[in-house]
């Protein structure tokens, strides 16, 4: 297979060799089965041990007083009445906390300084001003009500375009410079100017992606204990990046990360929003150290929705797509203004992320991005399922539909004409990222087959004949998986300190106990995905044992290994790599011991149905338990040497399968998100033009996530992700008014889909194009649903409202927004 390169990237040595040990197979025994999840029984019975279920002896409870102003100087904080209240152990202001705890850690370069309690100035509604530790949460909240804060209001910046010209007191962080522009930079990948000059048609659109967020039903919490003698902290946390977040929290608390033992909890949903929960952990640690007793801080819903540090992207695009008359896409250029809110924790990492699949599944020759990141008086951005790539998926699909309209082509045909072909992989895109494999036409055709498109067209046409507004939308999108950390810093620019490649590894320990049970230790926590089920199926496949013989446990950071955590659709790929590596060592040991027990050469033995047996000799075998028992207790009957040391265990660290450095001049960004999934979403909708209500009549989602470990749980991700995509497209918005007040600050106002907003079904299909770079060819599939639905729904609504000439350029398409569009179309 020959790789495909854009002309501005030299092919020689660009793609490192594959480290795949387990090539994909035609059939498996346990991989690919709909195994019931091993996590479920304890979750179903209330034994999940979520953060709020945990108590430690002597534990006190914290509550936080939050700013009701969007932008103000803190003139005075009087905590005397709060301190006098019975049951209050400690009241801490931002200025007091700053004396012992430094700024929260962040990735932006140059940084934007943030503290876990605001010092001198508040920059958004909900920012923490003071904290109380009390005997229970009720008393702590009572005490918050007794704290008096005097503010001096400052000009409020809400509109991202207005933020570009802010000056004077409207500047949020004057120490950074005299404006609210956090970063303004242009990146060019390939011959954009020439490609535009050659184009027959240039399609232009201005697009607006509204601010939504993960809002998992469980908020962020931490239970922190501090030992004054040793200086050690113990923290129960629902962070997903358990082995990374300690570095951040330790830096703020002024202690080595090695002084923190972080204990993972089962997490009640994250969708990206609990990757780093360092602000909450830093606050809990600060309070525990100051109060001299363990402290639990768990955000309530208002804490979380106003100040979770994880609102999603909030972007304005001005796009141009250059095409030939026949619909061939040539080049894409755009300006994007992104409203990051009051702080800048990940820098422009969400745009680094977008650039890994910026041309989508299409053969686009060159790309230019002018990026303007602005700061406003809102909760800062963080991570939400897609991490910025869901926005560019929507932008690109909107541009494809706009091009089809302009060229009077069928939108599906226009897509089909531009898809990268199966024989063109590995395919390097203009930004430098590599698409490892895929069969995009097969995904599209499978989706059309499941939908029975002619039937949908008939439904639409019949409805139109009756005067109803029914429409069809298609989106063909990328679903990158297995991030490399270069996405967080490659756009910072070469004048800022750069970094080097980080492996972002995942590891595991496998241990076969004397009963033959295989214990798998994970260094990363459960966050609502199915890590135990994935590990169980892969271990069962490796050893050919029944899944009931596998037991999965979680390590804390003191006893765990070099792991990163779930995020960027990486966990299944990475844990498979770690398990394959560890299993090889464990199997070799078992074969050596079994060889001695059976007086056979280890090379003549095989794993079969829970046993180790002589090849070609049915019945001549030992159970894994028998061999493990021998290896544990009867080592002195085995040959001398380390090969036969008592016990059967191994640990293995699996490194990122494929990543390279960005070019020094940023003419490309290297390979950083190469395990590339793909999807096609098709939606059939009816719009009531009188009310603006959108009803989804039918929905098809076909995904290619490579080799599928568990089709049932993958379909669960796809349907659940699509539900979130429906929310993003039609309902959800963190709406700030002109005073910077968050007017959608409760679940009664921030509208997430209930079952009533869902289509009657989401019909899911899978196409499997295994990756040539990962074990078994697995690709990630955690984010796809949300990354496809907005594009398909926007087009379907546009198609339904053809008679009104509606263009869906802004999300969310709430009933009110749809009514506005219809009303504008009704005008003569």
């Amino acid at each position: 297979m020959t790789a495909t390169f854009p002309k501005h990237i030299a092919a020689e040595g660009y793609i490192p060799p594959s480290r795949q040990q387990e090539p994909p197979r035609k059939s498996y025994k346990y991989i690919g089965q709909n195994l019931k999840r091993v996590e479920d029984p304890r979750l179903l019975t209330g034994h999940g041990q979520y953060i709020d279920d945990i108590a430690v002896p002597g534990m006190a409870h914290a509550a936080v007083l939050r700013s009701d102003r969007a932008h103000a100087r803190i003139k005075r904080v009087d905590t005397s009445k709060a301190k006098a209240l019975a049951g209050v152990y400690l009241v801490l202001t931002g200025a007091e906390a700053k004396e012992v705890t430094g700024a929260t850690a962040q990735f932006a370069s140059p940084p934007v300084v943030q503290y876990c309690l605001a010092v001198d100035r508040v920059r958004h509604v909900g920012e923490a001003v003071a904290a109380v530790v009390a005997e229970n949460r009720y008393v702590a909240e009572d005490a918050c009500d007794l704290i008096e804060v005097e503010y001096e209001d400052l000009p409020v910046v809400v509109d991202p375009e207005a933020a570009m010209t802010s000056s004077g007191d409207a500047v949020l962080h004057p120490e950074r410079g005299p404006n609210n522009i956090a970063q303004h930079r242009t990146f060019t990948f390939g011959p954009v100017q020439e490609d535009f000059a050659k184009a027959d048609v240039v399609v232009k659109r201005t697009l607006r992606w509204g601010r939504s967020g993960a809002q998992p039903l469980e908020t962020v919490g931490c239970i922190a204990s501090y030992e004054p003698g040793s200086g050690k902290f113990t923290m129960y946390t629902n962070s997903s990046f358990l082995n990374y977040v300690g570095w951040l929290v330790g830096a703020s608390l002024g202690v080595s990360a090695s002084k923190l033992n972080l204990i993972p909890c089962v997490t009640g949903g994250s969708f990206g929003s609990k990757l780093f929960t360092h602000k909450v952990m830093t606050l809990a640690g600060t309070l525990a150290r100051a109060a001299g007793r363990p402290v639990k801080f768990l955000e309530d819903r208002l804490d979380n929705i106003t100040s979770c540090d994880n609102h999603g992207s909030d972007r304005i695009y001005r796009c141009e797509l250059a095409l030939q008359r026949d619909g061939t896409m040539q080049s894409l250029r755009f300006q994007v203004i992104d409203d990051y809110g009051a702080y800048f924790q990940f820098g422009v990492g969400t745009h680094g992320n977008s650039l890994c699949q910026i041309v989508g599944p299409y053969r686009i020759n060159s790309v230019q991005m002018e990026l303007i990141a602005v700061l406003t008086n809102k909760c800062q951005q963080g991570a939400y399922r897609g991490f910025g790539s869901e926005v560019t998926n929507w932008m690109l699909e909107r541009m494809a539909d706009a091009a089809a309209d302009e060229l009077k082509m069928d939108p599906i045909e226009l897509r089909r004409r531009n898809l990268i072909q199966p024989d063109q992989f590995p395919y390097v895109i203009p930004s430098g990222n590599l698409y490892d494999s895929g069969n995009y036409p097969a995904v599209l055709e499978e989706a059309l087959r499941i939908a029975e498109l002619p039937k949908w067209q008939k439904i639409r046409d019949d409805a139109r004949a009756q005067g109803r507004c029914v429409g069809i939308g298609a989106a063909t999108c990328q679903e990158r998986s297995v991030f490399s950390a270069t996405e967080f810093w490659s756009l910072n620019g070469t004048e800022n300190p750069g970094f080097t490649l980080t492996s972002s590894p995942e590891s595991t320990q496998l241990r076969v106990d004397p009963t033959g049970t295989i214990h798998v230790t994970l260094g990363s926590p459960f966050w609502g995905n199915s890590p135990e089920t994935m590990a169980t199926q892969i271990v069962a496949e490796q050893f050919q044992v029944d899944p009931s013989q596998v037991n999965v446990v979680y390590a804390d950071t003191q006893s765990g290994f070099n792991s990163t955590g779930p995020g960027g659709s990486r966990f299944t790929v990475m844990i498979a790599g770690a398990i394959v590596g560890a299993a090889k060592q464990v199997k070799d040991k078992l074969l050596r011991v079994a060889g001695h027990m059976m007086e056979a050469d280890a090379g003549d033995l095989e794993f079969r149905a829970g046993k180790i047996g002589l090849k070609g000799a049915p019945g001549k075998e030992k159970t894994i338990g028998e061999v493990a028992l021998f290896a544990h207790y009867f080592r002195l009957n085995l040959p001398a040497g380390d090969d036969f040391a008592s016990g059967v265990d191994a640990s293995y660290v699996y490194d990122h399968p494929l990543t390279t450095m960005p070019a020094a001049d940023r003419s490309h960004l290297g390979i950083f998100y190469p395990i590339m999934g793909h999807m096609c979403h098709l939606a059939l909708v009816e719009v009531d033009p009188r009310t603006g209500k959108v009803a989804i009549l039918d929905y098809v989602a076909v995904h290619d996530a490579g080799t599928v470990v568990n089709p049932m749980t993958l379909a669960g991700h796809i349907r659940g992700g699509t539900a979130q995509g429906i929310g993003t497209a039609l309902y959800e918005k963190f709406h700030y008014d002109e005073n910077g007040q968050l007017v959608t600050g409760t679940f009664a106002d921030y509208l997430m889909p209930t079952l009533a907003e869902m289509p009657p079904a989401i019909r899911v299909g899978h196409v499997e194009t295994p990756s040539p770079f990962t074990e078994y060819g697995i690709k990630g599939g955690g984010e796809g649903g949300r990354m496809g639905a907005p594009g398909a729904l926007s087009r379907a609504i546009e198609d339904a409202l053809t008679q009104y000439g509606v263009r869906c350029n802004e999300l969310p398409l709430t009933p009110r927004k749809v009514r506005e569009l219809v009303r504008a179309g009704e005008k003569p």
Partner: protein, 160 residues
Amino acid sequence: MTLIPMSLKVNGTRFERAVEPRRLLSDFLREDLDLKATHVGCEHGVCGTCTVLVDGQAVRSCLSFAVQADGCEVRTADGLAQGGKLSVLQQAFWEKHGLQCGFCTPGMLMVATELLERTPRPTKAEIEEAISANLCRCTGYYTIVESVQRAAEMMQEGAK
């Protein structure tokens, strides 16, 4: 603050306690009785995660005061599994992948318990009506509906 004496039955066990009048039923169950299956999601009655049954009726425990349950019989998801075995409803949720992160699940189980006790053979529309009272951020709801359908089937088979 004055404490109000109260007596109630929770999952079949009688408790006599004195609580602050402002104490929420959700906090009373989780903290005073250490029953952790009831989860709190939004704290203002929208998400339904904290749903428990009070005298057989689904109630948002985050919007109820503990004292309102004085003299009542309360059931929570902690009490569904009996004798070390998952209930039929819990088995059906497991079989049909009716949960991912599991946080909304106790509320879904209690809503479904109320439905199936009142309507042992619910139509799909009746299940959808019941489930639409609660939020789930993971599943997209379909597998939850299938779980309740499956539970109804299993209960019918078991009754034969």
